[in-house]
Subunit: 193 residues, 2 copies
């Protein structure tokens, strides 16, 4: 795969994500995408395929990246607290730099059908599983207390939801925000005696 | 306003929310809504107005309800911890029983324009403000420690995000889930010495 092919592909995905984020998946036509990326229908098809394939790429690319990063961290065998903090930072950094993709993913992935939808859901579940592994590891290390199974979804909600409001370049960086959230989660907001 | 008018209105909003949740706002036509609710365009217009007015009602009704409930709680002058727990329960109960409305709100409110959009955003900010008030009250009561300003958005992310995955009638009730999340948030997940 030549660099030009890969670069063009990434560019098309990025522009389509912005269009879908702005005007919705159903509200964006293929003609509009072609105009925005400066390609004809044939060339667009060459780089990505149809509109649903574009939505699939937008929805899956960043989740795959988060899974890759989580696997690398988990392999490195660091203590659970460090892993939690680093995974939160990685996710908030990624959301901050790919807000359109995450907005499209959260709003529109239900428009995916068949195998494409199954793969995106599976990738999400894999990611959630890594968070659960880290919480379990923390319990084994006697650093964390056992917590209800659904708490993972609460933690991910806290982090994922930033796609709606986080302002990159604002007074708080993604890393700082991740630490603020993790401080609250690890030690609680209750005033200690 | 007669009961029939109010009932019909509520029914139209509920059905439209399901259609928008399933096929997206842009992907749902007025003709389709008319068929689903069994009304002609004239009657639909009588109950709600145009399609954007429907999206507005879907997006705003439950947020208004949450604001009303929060105001009532705050007026009752209960301790901050009780308020936090009760507000979380109220929100999760509402999301569990109005998942389509919340899905449409989170996915589609950006399709609202002008004054309608401003009003929905203002209602959301008011609700966030009530949560901040309760956190501040907890600090005044010397029950909570001072926390970063953005933590409110993290807490709401934790709770709001349930619209994506919570299964009403499943093994965990909305109240139980709210308590699980609040236990983690108040006391942290770290194992105490």
């Amino acid at each position: 795969m030549s660099t030009t092919y890969g670069d063009n592909r990434e560019r098309v995905i990025g522009i389509a994500a912005e269009l879908f984020a702005r005007n919705s998946y159903h509200g964006t036509g293929v003609a509009e995408i072609c105009t925005a990326v400066g390609l004809g229908r044939g060339a667009l098809y060459h780089y990505i395929g149809n509109k649903e394939a574009l939505l699939y790429e937008i929805s899956k690319t960043q989740v795959d990246r988060m899974n890759d990063q989580a696997e690398e961290l988990l392999r490195a065998g660091r203590p659970a607290e460090e892993l939690l903090r680093e995974m939160a930072r990685q996710l908030l950094r990624n959301i901050a730099s790919h807000r359109s993709e995450w907005a499209v993913f959260f709003r529109e992935y239900t428009a995916l059908t068949g195998e494409k939808r199954d793969k995106v859901v599976a990738a999400r579940e894999r990611y959630e599983g890594y968070w659960r592994q880290v919480l379990d590891r923390g319990v084994d290390e006697r650093v964390l207390r056992p917590t209800p199974r659904l708490l993972v979804k609460g933690i991910l909600g806290m982090l994922n939801y930033t796609y709606l409001w986080f302002e990159p370049g604002g007074p708080v960086s993604p890393d700082e925000l991740a630490d603020e959230f993790l401080d609250a989660l690890l030690d609680g907001v209750r005033l200690k005696g």
